[in-house]
Amino acid sequence: MSDVRTPEPPKPPREPRRFRARDALLAIGVAALLLVMFEGPSIRRGGERMDDGFWKTVVLAVGKPADAFGDVVPLPEIGDELTSWLSPDDDLGGPGSFETSAQDTTPQAPAADGKVPPVTPDYFDPHALGDKAPEPRELDTVLVTGDSLAMPLDAEVARRLSAEGIEVVRDPQIGTGISKADIGDWGSISLRQAEKEEPDATVMFLGANEGFPMPKAGGGTVECCGVDWATEYASRARRMMDTYRQDGEARVYWLTLPAPRDEERQRVARVVNEGIAVAAQPFRAHIRVIDMVELFTPGGKYRDSLDIEGEETIVRESDGVHLNKEGARLAADRVLDALTDDFRGQAAAVSQEVSIRMSRLFRLAALLAVGGLMTAMAPAGAPAETGSGPTASPSKRCSVGSGRGYGTTYVRSITTRRVGCSRAKAVVRAFHRCRKGARGRCNSRVKGYSCSENRNGGVGSFDSNVSCRRGGKRVRHAYTQFT
């Protein structure tokens, strides 16, 4: 009986430990010390990005010595190594950086030998000459980018164009500026965007954070806002324009800055707008400068509201810099008008806002009706289709010609939904490059599309149906491969 154990009494609930105020100071002190040791460079960078003032001084007073400590003891590098996998950022430096790459080499830059640079055909806007503009490629992808000014313009443009099956890539870089390379270097950002998205049109609205000193060629910095600063700004903007226009295959729509409320900012905005105008000169065939000054602040005089269709309407945010939603709608009208001019027939249906906007009353009714339906269905866990939704975009069949030239024996058909044919063909070609070999399969995404295929084997050849998807976009094709 000796091995019969008496059950242990239940443990009393654990009491929270009692701490003293000095424990709080110790814990916070240890945390602060470790962060200073491991995050010194980040603290310094954070301080450098701040606007001038008390807190910038304070943060830099901590960040600079902490950064210097990190140079001696490489703890920040260890910290970066351990946590880099969590970073959500694309590389915003790297190739194309304004800070590291050579100075402007575009045609209008002063020639190194001192000769007058040549005028090229790209200087001329064919419309202005009464000439027929060269046909741009099909409007398939539009990039809307810039800084916080590009919001909510990006969403507005996207809403109007998505109904047409045109992909709108929204990529605002908040807090950035052409003259403010520490957060994001637009030389690199523009290169990355152009290479990654290959946009047929780029809408740029940038300039809320300008006025910072910029390094100039040959050393030293140039302060805002004299001729030297404007020259450097225009050079950088021109490089970006050149990147986005992709050797003249794409179009760029660059919005000027409406006058901000603050007088100091107005001065910067004037210089920025001059810089944009000068930067665009050699590329008038491909770059449209869209005037927001005349639209929102005639005469360069700030105002909160505009007369829209007989009604005075607020168009600016309370910060006196950004456009509100109503303002963004007006700006989007101008952008889409310009897009329609260049890509006639492709974006024509979208320039009228009314084409996609339902009346508020109808929306509310739809909202409540669908809401009630959704609530009723909620227990089942799966909302069903509603009658009020738009019908699915129809599929479109693309001509494949002889079917040759796609990387397989021949392609029999290509159908698309919400994608232009030129992009669809590019996807098909990329898919066959990815397959590698007659019997190879493609197991990775191509141009952002994930593809699946269904093969029917035969002797010496097989037929296959491939379906590629990216969001609501579909590219389907059928091909035959001789083995």
């Binding site: 240890v30 807190w55 909160d304």
Partner: protein, 464 residues
């Protein structure tokens, strides 16, 4: 100043040290806290400090005047004037632009032709919160629940940095007694405070901002570009995001106050486990719920006037509660959905409802999620478009293992028994303070690594 920033990481340790050093001299401590809090608040715009000071002085004078008279009529006039002035100030800063265009149109159409100036007015951060706290102070003084306090105490109460910009909405009767006795330096909830700060950071930066970036913002910005599956996932993701964003802020606010020896009321208690909308409001933004109950619903008559009057009071309370969040019809509709649901529930109160618990949970959760659509959408057009996308079935592009896991964990963890999560907190609280500090640094470093170059976006409730 946001909590998860370098400035705050420098500001708080210094403030903490000085605060405890001055604790034995309460008057000095109060002066210091007011100065430090105004420094915190003035980072956004120093002009807002003038507004805060004006609210403080104005409500202090009204509270003194109310306490200084026995005449009930005079007291009523004074409290009415104070509340009206507070609300008028809130109205000008928060709702002027919302109404002015409509008012102008009405004036114009009726031929009166006295247009109001169309101006955009900057919204001072936290105005909704400190105005409500000021209202609780004068109303509690009027009701005899609080004594009028010296100006310095009122200034500490209204400006105390950790609840200044987004709550919790602390009553004067909860806060003022705490600052009039020195905090005991031998009994500080360090473990709980640090635990809450770490949890709040993770919720805000690692979960809420991540979901906003990857799922919610793309869906709500351009619903047309997304299939029904993405839209549904985006709405669930927003339910997770807003909970983590707001409760993350509150956790940090409560944790920081605990380190200074101040206790704030709880503001969230796992709201997504609720089995009714009334239970949801007992678990979600609890300090706003009780404000609406005590200072709006009950003065309107509460449930004392029969079914119809109760329904009217519920609906009105929730509509105004919705409007408190911001000057947009979406918030009004959001309040209307919650008010309607509360009215329906009220009709069934006391009756046996033959639904199993899981069904009630599922229904409640989806009513809440449905209401989040109008709350988050930029306007009713966008909300309508989002709902109409439910008919557009297509592939899911936003659902990845990571986003799915984060959404499921955020909602699923709330369904666990409280004991399970409380045990983890108790374990943390047993650690040595230096180990807790090291752990906090580790959490901060990991969380900081997830912040994009463009920095931490403001808390959602900073806009309200």
């Amino acid at each position: 100043m946001l909590f998860p920033t370098v400035e705050f990481a420098i500001y708080f340790p210094i403030m903490l040290a000085i605060s405890w050093a001055l604790m034995s001299r309460l008057d000095w401590w109060k002066v210091f806290i007011v100065g430090a809090s105004y420094l915190f608040y003035g980072t956004a715009n120093w002009k807002f400090c003038l507004l805060l000071a004006g609210v403080t002085v104005g409500n202090h004078l009204f509270a003194r005047a109310i306490a200084g008279t026995e005449d009930p009529r005079r007291r009523k006039q004074l409290v009415g004037t104070a509340v009206a002035l507070d609300l008028a100030m809130l109205g000008v800063f928060k709702y002027y632009a919302f109404f002015v265009e409509d008012v102008d149109r009405v004036l114009d159409s009726t031929g009166l032709g006295l247009p109001l100036p169309l101006l955009t007015i900057a919204l001072p951060v936290g105005i909704s919160f400190f105005t409500f706290q000021a209202i609780t102070y004068v109303v509690d003084t009027y009701r005899g629940h609080a004594e009028p306090a010296p100006l310095l105490d009122v200034a500490v109460y209204l400006s105390f940095f950790s609840h200044l910009v987004a709550g919790p909405i602390v009553r004067a009767s909860e806060f003022l007694p705490q600052i009039n006795t020195p905090r005991d330096p031998n009994n500080v909830a360090v473990g709980a405070g640090l635990f809450l700060i770490a949890v709040g950071l993770v919720k805000k930066v690692a979960v809420a901002d991540f979901l906003a970036r990857e799922v919610v913002d793309p869906v709500f910005a351009v619903p047309e570009a997304h299939s029904a599956v993405d839209v549904i996932f985006g709405v669930y993701a927003y339910a997770a995001q807003i909970y983590c964003d707001f409760s993350g802020y509150t956790d940090m606010a409560i944790g920081l106050a605990l380190l200074l020896g101040i206790v704030f009321p709880q503001n969230f208690n796992r709201p997504y486990r609720s089995r009714s909308i009334s239970e949801f409001w007992r678990r979600w933004h609890m300090t706003l719920s009780r404000f609406l109950r005590d200072y709006l619903y009950i003065p309107l008559g509460g449930n004392r006037g029969g079914r119809l009057a109760t329904a009217r009071n519920l609906l009105l309370t929730m509509l105004l509660g919705g409007l408190w969040h911001g000057a947009a019809w979406g918030f009004v509709v959001w309040g209307g959905i919650h008010g309607t649901a509360l009215v329906v529930e009220h009709q069934f109160r006391g009756r046996k409802v033959p639904f199993p618990g899981w069904f009630k949970w599922l229904l409640t959760f989806h009513v809440v999620v449905l209401a989040w659509i109008v709350f988050r959408a930029a306007d009713l057009d966008v909300a309508g478009q989002l709902l109409s996308q439910l008919g557009d079935w297509g592939p899911a592009t936003l659902i990845t293992w990571t986003t799915l896991l984060v959404v499921m964990l955020t909602i699923g963890l709330q369904l666990l028994p409280e004991r399970e999560t409380g045990e983890l907190r108790l374990r943390v609280e047993q650690l040595h303070p230096a180990a807790m500090g090291a752990a906090l640094a580790g959490v901060v470093a990991l969380v900081a690594a997830t912040v994009p170059t463009q920095g931490v976006p403001p808390f959602i409730y900073f806009a309200f």
